[in-house]
């Protein structure tokens, strides 16, 4: 199932995540950036109380403090390396992206925590996402100067 929501790092695939997460809110409290929000009843009965990330408002800075606090294992507690996170994948909307429209901009490239790996600049100085390296933290989506953002994380649900 394609997730509607970006989940914290280490989250199980969406269906399994919804079954395992006990909606306790410990990850929400563990997040020092206030990145992790709590879905409410208005988002749907099945997702109510689950942790969600709205990367455009505030992305995940990959501090990795939330996976180890999860009491039910809905977030893989053993996940420590930020490179192994797979919350989703950034997708660049080339028609909106300044660099792809021949205006110089490398905001996403500059702020990507996996510097020069998840987002690379091609030989015409346009950002390209490496699907295999991108962890889906959403920092690129957060810093994109275009409104709405020309790069957005597609929730992947692979942890």
């Amino acid at each position: 199932m394609q997730s509607r929501f970006l989940r914290p790092p280490g989250a199980l695939p969406e269906n399994e995540f919804l079954a395992t997460c006990i909606r306790c809110g410990k990850c929400v409290q563990a997040c020092p950036y206030g990145t992790i929000k709590t879905a409410s009843l208005l988002d749907g009965v099945t997702v109510m109380g689950t942790p969600v990330i709205y990367a455009r408002d505030r992305p995940c800075y990959l501090c990795m403090k939330c996976p180890p606090v999860c009491p039910s294992g809905a977030l893989k507690r053993g996940l420590k390396e930020k490179e192994q996170v797979r919350m989703g994948t950034a997708v660049i909307a080339k028609k909106e992206c300044l660099a792809w429209q021949e205006t110089l901009c490398r905001s996403c490239f500059d702020d990507c925590p996996l510097i020069g790996e998840a987002i690379i600049m091609d030989n015409e100085l346009r950002p390209v996402v490496d699907d295999k390296k991108c962890v889906g933290c959403g920092i690129c989506e957060n810093v994109c100067p275009v409104d709405p953002a020309a790069v957005a994380v597609r929730p992947g649900g692979k942890g």
Binding site: N15, E16, L18, A19, T20, C21, I22, R23, C24, G25, K26, V28, Q29, A30, C31, P32, G34, I36, K37, T38, A39, S40, L41, L42, V45, T46, M48, G49, V69, P71, S72, G73, R77
Partner: protein, 264 residues
């Protein structure tokens, strides 16, 4: 009334915990984290038994960390009964205080059934049966203490609460006008589940008269019971959550030889 003061302190303490933990976490103090669904005090993890069991049902997996975290509350329930409900649960505190206000205002409820354990047992059975079928943790949605503390956390982080907080308001309104103490007595799956952990030696309120312990038939204990139970009639469990109010007033009225007492 020492018992009552102790209990009020525990109740207010729990409410403070629910509010201060997310605030402290936000400031970077993380010795205690979590909510009344699942709490971590340093390295000690404590999870509501119903929430843990429901997760086993939805995932068909036994997670060692989760199961270990159920030990303390299960042990507590076996030893002291449902003291979580009577001494800590913020929903019980809210309902109890609202009930006192209702009593002061002289409100008579539309329905006045005799408290019985059966409806709550049926609700619990329905929740546990439906949980693996729907595939998501139904009990988490219906845990009033969990909702209250998780919503307190949400408020601290986001400055808003979810619509689901309305359940708490709904409970209060229903209990105020329709059925006295409807949630705790007839519906709450968390309390229903905790009530299952009962042995012969579990702490209980005992009414026992003999030559030195004589009941003055003042019925102060009946009036004192916040759940509307009758400590003189016996057969209190599993509805009684060992709050001790009846034992407390009995003590207050008869310095020596009170017939109501806590016993293992």
């Amino acid at each position: 009334m020492r018992l009552k003061r102790l209990r009020t302190a525990a109740q207010i303490g729990t409410i403070c915990l629910v509010i201060l933990v997310p605030l402290a976490n936000k400031k970077g103090f993380t010795f205690i984290t979590g909510t009344l669904y699942s709490l971590a005090v340093g390295p000690v993890w404590i999870t509501d038994p119903l929430i843990g069991v429901q997760t086993v049902l939805t995932t068909a997996r036994l997670d060692a960390v989760l199961l270990l975290s159920l030990l303390i509350p299960v042990f507590l329930a076996f030893a002291l009964g449902r003291v979580f409900c009577g001494w800590m649960c913020p929903q019980n505190t809210i309902s109890e205080w609202a009930d006192r206000v209702a009593a002061k205002l002289g409100i008579t409820r539309l329905f006045r059934p005799q408290p019985r354990a059966l409806p709550r047992t049926i609700v619990l059975a329905a929740v546990l049966t439906a949980t693996p079928l729907v595939g998501f943790p139904l009990a988490s949605l219906l845990s009033a203490p969990g909702l209250i503390s998780a919503q307190a956390g949400k408020y601290v982080v986001e400055g808003v609460v979810g619509l689901e907080a309305g359940l708490i308001g709904l409970i209060v309104v229903v209990e105020f006008f329709l059925v006295r103490r409807a949630w705790c007595n007839y519906l709450c799956p968390v309390g229903g589940f905790l009530g299952l952990f009962r042995l012969k030696g579990t702490l209980k309120v005992v009414f026992a008269e003999d030559a030195e312990h004589v009941c003055g038939k003042c019925r102060a204990c009946v009036d004192a019971c916040g759940l509307g139970l009758d400590p003189l009639g016996g057969n209190l469990y599993p509805l009684c959550h060992n709050c001790g109010d009846c034992v407390g007033v009995c003590e207050a009225l008869k310095e020596r030889g009170k017939p109501l007492s806590f016993r293992f």
